[in-house]
Amino acid sequence: MLRIEGLTITAGTAPLVEGLGVDLPEGQLCCLIGPSGCGKTSVIKWLAGILPPGLGAQGRVTRDGAPMARPDPALAYQPQADALFPWLTVAENAGLGLEIAGRSRRAARAAVAPLFAPFGLAGTEDLFPGQLSGGMRQRAAFLRTIVQDSRYVLLDEPFSALDAVTRLRMQDWLCARLAETPRGVLMVTHDLHESTQMADRILVMSARPGRIVADIPLTTPRAARSEAALAETRMTLKSLLLED
């Protein structure tokens, strides 16, 4: 269990996020949704230990009750852009987190190699990111995130750069991949459809200063989430987001 308590983020003197608290159990996919500028990305970055200079933060994170310093290998972060390094091959990109965690280049490559086929990237190991399509780049970025031995994954709008069709396909695909090795996921999004399709639970943030205004569990199994079944939840979310 990852617990965030009393998180306040300020830009200068203006509060960006105020008194935010979240419990994130392992194995749960939790979407953080809110209007743009409400500080969603700042929350994720703070958790990842990379809050931009110029922002101040107060708050604490505990994992299973113990205070947690960050960056921490238990948290794998994936930025909004795929951030694949153009000068590294796809395999080197995928193994980057492992290399930084202290493994040799060869060991990192051996660890990522068996994942290329299930990630739909077979044969791309020695290509460069510039040679891949948008969807493949995003899968390579997911591979880089998932292969790190983390217990929690922080995703910042992972599908925002994709076209609508690729996005739908990747959402299902990511849910399937995450189900293979369950871990806690905190995913920032501003897409109602995406959150209701993927999440076990949706946290709604208010406009700036951001705080959690609703915590909505989704109990319907993913396979049974038809448009009709989700209609009510979407209405609720819509009214919450449009409130102010």
Binding site: K45, A48, G49, I50, P71, D72, P73, L75, A76, Y77, Q78, P79, Q80, A81, D82, A83, F85, P86, W87, L88, T89, L96, G97, I100, A101, F128, P129, G130, Q131, R137, Q148, A161
Partner: protein, 255 residues
């Protein structure tokens, strides 16, 4: 695009220019003492080739040595300045000011202080080429996409590792741009230093030719200096190609 396709327009323009020059010299009856035609310059090059080659070698040695030292020095300085903002704030104004010192004033002083040997000329080349490389490296470091450095930090990389894995490779295109600018200065700076006093080199060759009113030899020296600069640029382009298949295949874009 093939090499021929790429250089054909440049060759065509150069040929047109030389042709115009040649025709002008013969038709207008200009004295070759004032403006020798290209054919005259070519003849001078041919007749004097042994002598010119000796001077060119000397110039190239100084320029290359100065350039290599300058690149190493600029790289070390850029790393030091990157990691110590205080040093950057302290030194950058001095470095900028150093660029305003006119070469005309400095070259004779260098000769005065360090004699007619290699040292004053190499120092002058370093002084002229150092700054563009340093500035391009520093601006390359700043241009590293933020998501790259953030990702590395979140993965647990330390400052040095972030620099080595993210910032340094991202600075590569701007580093090579700086190298190209500096390479064009390197030969000119060497010739200037030689002009102020030397035993051999294209600079002293041009000076002697000027003093004996041999415009054709002066121009021959100019041609050689241009060739030396092109040679240096060609070497850089070759190094760029050879060292980094990966940097060319992947257009550097911060998506």
């Amino acid at each position: 695009m093939s090499l021929v396709h790429r250089i054909a327009p440049a060759l065509f323009c150069a040929a047109l220019l030389l042709l115009g020059w040649e025709v002008y010299c013969t038709r207008a009856g200009v004295s070759p003492l004032v403006l020798p035609p290209p054919s005259g310059v070519l003849r001078a090059l041919q007749v004097e080739r042994a002598e010119i080659l000796r001077h060119a070698q000397s110039t190239l040695t100084v320029a290359a040595l100065g350039f290599i030292l300058s690149v190493s020095f600029a790289f070390l300085t850029s790393v030091a300045l990157y990691f110590t903002p205080l040093l950057r704030r302290g030194l950058m104004p001095l470095l900028v000011a150093s660029q305003t010192v006119p070469l005309v004033a400095l070259a004779p002083l260098m000769i005065l202080w360090f004699g007619f040997g290699l040292l004053p000329k190499v120092l002058l080349v370093i002084l002229v080429t150092f700054f563009p490389i340093l500035v391009s490296l520093l601006s390359g470091y700043r241009a590293a996409p933020r998501p790259f450095t953030e990702l590395l930090t979140a993965m647990g990389a330390g400052r040095l590792s972030v620099f080595r894995r993210g910032i340094l490779p991202a600075a590569r295109p701007s580093f090579f741009a700086g190298l190209r600018i500096s390479a064009t200065y390197a030969i000119v700076a060497t010739i200037f230093a030689e002009y102020a006093g030397a035993r051999s080199g294209i600079g002293i060759y041009i000076l002697t030719a000027k003093n004996t009113f041999r415009a054709d030899l002066v121009l021959a020296g100019v041609v050689v200096s241009a060739c030396l600069t092109l040679m240096l640029l060609g070497t850089l382009a070759g190094i760029d190609r050879l060292t980094a298949r990966r940097f060319r295949e992947a257009p550097h874009a911060a998506h």
